[in-house]
Symmetry: C2
Subunit: 231 residues, 2 copies
DNA sequence: CGTGCGTTTGAGTGAATTCAACGGCTGTGG
DNA sequence: CCACAGCCGTTGAATTCACTCAAACGCACG
């Protein structure tokens, strides 16, 4: 039997929750078939244009996927944290490169292994499809942020998303640098820094050390984030 | 047998080509099972938050999918032209709303019908998955544009993409308004207009009427678009 | 011949960027 | 234990690119 229905989700912010929620059988499959590998900080997991032979799951650590323009401008497409699956593109080649942000342990599974299993069990494809859908929705949400939100809104959306995904609700320990955040949000490092400082001055957050952010006034953050649909 | 391999594609610009190329069997299925419907210009095909019961294919006309913020800011996620499939989110609800841009004919198929077929033929799921992947890659490419490109680069990328998809290589007949273009590219209508005017002054394009754009100097356009990877 | 909508053009503003300097850790080596 | 180098992050000043506000234009339609 197939599981076409993902759990209905009410929120408008599409993070990777959907992916996690729907990982029952794929987790089992991958965990059985995969091989663990350790990567140092800033190691390349795969490069743009490389054949996409494997599927990846973050066991511990954090990963970014990114694209570069010829003049060095970089867009980070997503961050993957513990438990997240990435690299699932049944095309010949990857369209992003993936690097670790911190020392990480990654579970790697050969795509062909999954696929041969899939011929016997269409559940696996359905699961992979659902994963892809979740990634797509995340990308679409991010397009709204990149296209239409100002610096403060971007930063706040980022903090709330990280808070949710790290599930340390009010004390967010960021694995990534300001440059990574900037390249994810389509801002400069200076703007990221200034905006965070301003939020701290406003008493909405506090930043005891640069990588640790305390959400002092979640209501104010939600207010700024206010993604509501019109009418 | 499954078709895991999409045709390898060399270009960096991910348009909907991949979708079209891989539509053999899904086209057959949908065309057989679907019902055609006519929509007037600016008609809503589905709304954000509505249950996603159907899959859609543009027979003729054009469709935009979009998201709104509470203050009216709008981000258009994609345009779908003749032959494109959209609405494939096996989640409970749509995350974008979809409206026709011009009078359109849309083929509609009940998802459940496809799905019951899928239990017998995992090919169909694989096809749907590939469609989703293509949409994801398009979204990721668009994130790079929205996050890191200036107005001129956005306009040029848009024109080249439209030129390719409309396959009237050098004379692009745009179905959408300047406002739609602006909301797709994350710009204002004025900036879109000014940038097009400037390209015309530079002799790179010409605009006999506002919706028709002639690509006079494709090499110059490619130059500006230059998406190349670094090193 | 108006009216209305979509588009263009102009002038001025502003938010984010660029350029530049400074501050504060961390680790290393004297 | 201190000195110093190398990052990373913050802050400041000036600039710029796209935005806002405003008006005019052109075309279609009644």
């Amino acid at each position: 039997m197939l599981h076409w229905q993902n759990p209905a989700r009410s929120g408008k912010v599409i993070s990777l929750d959907a992916i996690r929620q729907d990982q029952g059988s794929i987790d089992d499959t991958i965990d059985l078939m995969g091989a663990r590998m350790r990567f140092a900080r800033n190691a390349e997991v795969f490069g743009e244009g490389e054949p996409a032979e494997y599927l990846y799951k973050v066991v511990s650590g954090a990963v970014r996927i990114s694209k570069l323009l010829s003049d060095g401008r970089r867009q980070i497409g997503a961050f993957y944290l513990t438990g997240d699956v990435f690299g699932l593109e049944p095309e010949a080649a990857h369209h992003f490169s993936a690097e670790t942000i911190v020392d990480s342990e990654i579970l790697i599974i050969r795509r062909s292994a999954l696929m041969s299993d899939a011929t016997r069990n269409s559940d696996v494809i359905a699961q992979l499809w659902n994963q892809t859908i979740a990634h797509l929705q995340q990308a679409q949400e991010h397009m709204l942020l990149l296209g239409r939100k100002n610096a403060q809104e971007r930063i706040v959306a980022f903090l709330l998303d990280m808070s949710k995904r790290l599930s340390t609700k009010l004390a967010v320990e960021l694995p990534m640098s300001r440059q990574d955040i900037a390249d994810y949000l389509g801002l400069t490092i200076e703007t990221v820094s200034r905006t965070l400082t301003q939020l701290e001055r406003d008493g909405i957050i506090s930043i005891p050390v640069s990588r640790r952010i305390l959400l002092r006034d979640p209501a104010a953050l939600d207010e700024i984030n206010d993604d509501c649909l019109a009418a």
